[in-house]
Symmetry: none
Subunit: 205 residues, 2 copies
């Protein structure tokens, strides 16, 4: 993965941010993210080691303040910054370019497309292990293209089933909370659901 900041550039950029005002680490991450339209969010693993280094070099000072750690630029830091101010504009342009390229890659990426498929696979694996009849419906689908079109009906059915279960649960629970829930009701539910299943199975045949 091509880094957004080239060798030494982040160091200088952090210094320029701290020249505006003292900040703590997380604020610097946010500031960077904001400056590049939310597209680039440097990870903590990028920022904190750099800040430690800057401190070791005497360009910033660290002040612990409760949960936060405020960093402040020193005179030496300001001097360093002044000496290399001309580089800053170029750095910003470079970063903007990198970030734009990254965004394009993400947009074209297939990354997100397989998520629901993977969820199905995981659940199928789990069901198989539990000894239930595994429903391997999607496992043969090699293509990342989601099966939602061909299976819209199945999906609808799942929503129907799930909603029903949620509602019944709420009903029964609130009933149990005030008064008791008789076993007879549960028996009735069991019976009626068995009936529903038989009916649907009949239609399918």
């Amino acid at each position: 993965m091509t880094p957004v900041f080239a060798h030494g550039n982040l160091r200088l950029y952090l210094l320029s941010l701290l020249a505006e005002s003292p900040r703590h680490g997380y604020e610097l991450i946010q500031a960077l993210s904001e400056r590049f339209g939310g597209t680039y969010s440097p990870s903590a693993g990028t920022i904190y080691p750099r800040l430690s280094k800057l401190e070791a070099e005497g360009l910033v000072t660290k002040t612990s303040d409760g949960r936060k750690t405020v960093y402040e630029i020193t005179d030496a830091g300001r001097a360093e910054l002044a000496a290399r101010e001309s580089e800053l504009g170029a750095i910003e342009d470079e970063v903007t370019d990198s970030v734009r390229r990254l965004a394009d890659e993400v947009r074209a990426g297939v990354n997100e497309a397989m998520r629901s498929l993977r969820a199905d696979l995981a659940s199928a694996a789990r069901e198989a292990k539990r000894g239930r009849p595994a429903d391997r419906e999607h496992t043969s689908d090699v293509h990342p293209t989601p099966r939602q079109d061909s299976n819209a009906a199945v999906r609808d059915a799942e929503v129907v089933l799930n909603d029903f279960r949620q509602q019944m649960r709420t009903d029964l629970r609130s009933r149990a909370a005030r008064g008791g829930l008789q076993d007879a009701v549960v028996a009735q539910l069991r019976h009626e659901l068995a009936q529903v299943r038989a009916n649907v199975l009949g239609t399918l045949k």
Copy 2:
């Protein structure tokens, strides 16, 4: 945003993971992510408070080991888990459903589409300024108040509901796999379930 784990479910699920083997917090996050096909990755802010709570309740123990903090289930934890083992299957299914729905939303989402645009806007602004250029499963409370009696029926009902859902799902999916599942069947299912609910509600009154 609808939570993936319903009220109290994460607590139980974490316990079940720790029953398999002691783990540290980050491992639990990974384990959860793995179980749901990488689709659901609980944040640290979800896991650590829950672990602290479990520790305060005496269901797990915390052992600091260098950079890591290993959590281990206690006998009390195992007891709690055993008492509610029947709920685990339902929880897994629920989570799978939630996650699938979430994935569908993301897939349909426009989120990523504006990124590079925003990067452009941010850079333009900068140049201008530069002057030129699930439901509720719950129940086991924090306080070990034994009231299993009123809950036994609810538990039974939950098992009934879950089994039904599981079976119907398998039925419908295998049907969809060989031939098509007509919308009419889904409509029928919806209708019949509404009827069942009305009947049960009638009995409750």
